[in-house]
Symmetry: C2
Subunit: 420 residues, 2 copies
């Protein structure tokens, strides 16, 4: 019999405890041993969690209990779980976590500390989708060319609604909050930070890149309007919040931002709260993994799969490498990222304006690919929407600054990147 201790009995912890009991027949047959939860750690032991496990408010009753074989960390946060998980590893206990923030900041320290002790985290990225296993094991023969993931269900739900129902951002955000898909303070989701944590985990397995959230481009969906949606439809794009990791000659790009992608690509077809990650490998070509990225039971599915793998004797290497990776791939500086861009400007509806804009862009070596002019609410102005050919991020940012200074351009210039 394998005894599990769980740090944090919230939505996911409750699901883990319940499924280990309800599916114990199949789990025992697959793992070869019965797996039970011995202790759950909570702040308030008097609150009913709907599961029949022993509760304690003292993490030591899990971490220091010699009868506990595996520690499952489902607390959330960064430094508090980090301290506890380190203690568990020091006691020689395998760890399973669903905590993306912990890994976004401390995955390499944890790898060093774990050594040969299993440290598993399938549930940290894209919930129930077994993307960690796919990338670490299933695609291990490949140089990974790119990863593009819809890894935040809140954003994908909101974008799908904006596109399919023509609703405005604020309206949809309120609806998502009412449905429990978005938090009262939605910044962590809609600002791209949640997706960034997940992207960093995948990038470590693919490229051995040790980056922190502060090091990469993170933008959200807050500035997308129905004007952008209309343009995207007209030009054959969908708009998705993507986490992108991509190998280019000079290094690895890591970035999270709203992206226009061709409507016919598989990942463009992923709607609502669902998540999906496409991985392109040099041998396998494009693969995609699709499923529920959140929710108690779906996340618990991944947590328990990790527990079963540990019991079976299958695990790791934690971040995918048994040895140091000699290729020495470096994180590309934000400024050097090359992309196509979409721009939205409010301009005076006068002759000569377009020429001024094109010539300003030209000064930075940027050329226009396609253009659309739409009427504005203000009759004397027009909305100018266009896409550019590829250029470096730094050029685009300088060009946007220069455009903003033109007398005929009003308000903020909206920018979105395009991936083909």
């Amino acid at each position: 019999m394998i005894r599990v201790g769980i740090l944090g009995i919230g939505t996911v912890g409750t699901s883990v405890a319940r499924i280990l009991e309800e599916n114990s027949d199949i789990i025992e047959a697959r793992a070869g041993k019965k797996i039970v939860v011995k202790t759950g750690i909570v702040k308030d032991t008097t609150k009913d969690r709907g599961v029949s496990i022993a509760l304690s408010d003292d993490p030591s009753t899990v971490i220091d209990d010699p009868e506990i074989d595996i520690v499952v960390e489902l607390m959330g946060g960064v430094e508090a779980p980090y301290a506890l998980v380190k203690r568990a590893l020091k006691n020689g206990k395998p760890v399973v976590t669903a905590n993306k923030a912990l890994l976004a900041y401390h995955r390499y320290e944890l790898q060093a500390l774990a050594g040969e002790i299993p440290f598993m985290y399938e549930a940290s990225t894209a919930g129930g989708i077994p993307i960690i296993g796919a990338l670490r094991n299933g695609l291990s023969a490949n140089h990974i060319e790119s990863i593009k993931g819809i890894m935040n269900g809140t954003c994908n739900y909101m974008l799908t609604k904006m596109i399919n129902e023509g609703a405005d951002y604020d309206e949809i955000l309120k609806e998502a909050q009412d449905l429990g898909y978005a938090e009262a303070d939605p910044t962590f989701d809609v600002g791209g930070f949640d997706a960034a944590h997940k992207l960093l985990i995948l990038a470590s397995i693919a490229y051995g890149i040790d980056a922190k959230p502060e090091d990469i481009v993170i933008e959200g969906i807050e500035n997308i309007t129905q004007t952008d949606v209309t343009f995207a439809k007209e030009f054959g794009y969908e708009i998705k919040l993507l986490g992108i990791a991509k190998k280019v000659e000079e290094g690895v790009e890591l970035r999270v931002h709203a992206t226009m992608i061709p409507s016919e690509s598989m990942i463009a077809k992923v709607d609502g709260v669902m998540n999906a990650v496409t991985v392109v490998g040099d041998c396998v070509g494009e693969t995609m993994y699709y499923g529920a990225g959140a929710g108690g039971d779906a996340t618990a599915s991944a947590v328990i799969a990790d527990i079963i793998d540990i019991v079976r004797g299958n695990h790791g290497p934690m971040l995918g490498y048994k040895k140091g990776l000699e290729s020495g791939l470096k994180l590309l500086h934000k400024d050097e990222i090359v992309s196509q861009y979409y721009l939205r400007l409010e301009v005076n509806d006068q002759s000569g304006v377009l020429a001024a804009i094109a010539s300003t862009l030209g000064r930075f070596g940027i050329s226009i690919e396609s253009m659309l002019q739409k009427p504005s609410k203000n009759e004397e102005r027009a909305k100018l929407l266009f896409t550019t050919h590829c250029c470096a991020e730094i050029k685009m940012r300088d060009a946007i600054d220069a455009l903003s200074e033109l007398d005929d351009v009003h308000g903020e210039i909206a920018m979105m990147r395009i991936e083909k």
Copy 2:
């Protein structure tokens, strides 16, 4: 250093040898050891394979060589590789195979013989997509509710062309043969047998079902016409050759056949030679795995992933169970499968015919869900296309026999199943 011997240096074997060399940097970093091919077994050692490995026509030089650590079987066929793989296991050598036919017939004997020796077969099903790993490891906490897979690229290519370009079956088959997507004798692909082998492998991991190809429904795409395609479009369906494994109250359904599926489902969006498998688990909900189902490099990606997992110490249990599965799920008899159906009949274009058909169906307890009448080439006749509500397969087959005997019905009645 790990030394591999390969039985069969065809398209996949060549790719395995080449990628092990070309990607040796990343493979060594991930596996922790250098992996090299020591010997390849071929019938004709004089033919150039474009790879610099030692060739032999004697399988013993791989199987009985104490320096060979892992045997990779890429011969194809059933009994010949079975004999060799058994010898390799008796010599204590881990085996990696891409051979679906071998597993469709002998997976349980091989599991018993392998015991604790790694026996891996990721490449046998859906080529480069890591579906075996996803099902055996990633979803191991779940009771599997259903598996639906597009697992034959030839059929999916042909169906996509028929649907998108309005081409006829024979025309597209010839094109697929010219492109190398279909064999000169295409029966194994278009008749559904290839997909059936793969389905049986997945069904073992999901349900512990020991069935042979002879035990299950296997139908192909040979009888699909543009009339069926038009109907499907009009009623919001795509037509796909699906391998379906599904748990119902009485047992497990296993079947391969052309299927009408709602256009908005994710798997309906998988076009061309690509493969995809959806798996619904009771905790995780619907997940989907998408990628290249064939091709030398994509298949080699899966073969090498298995080799790396063996070197890392991760493997199995071969068919997903460490212990016997007590649930005792039984294969449902073909007759008992319950489905919705689509029927196409050529009938006399006269009043009363529809009433006769509806009343014949009624005698078998079958009711019509939707109907479409189309003109026929023969002006005195019409094509009658309809879908039924759910009924058992045996009732439907009896009803089709009875319909065939009606004076107003001409020629063969075409039938297709519908999955929602």
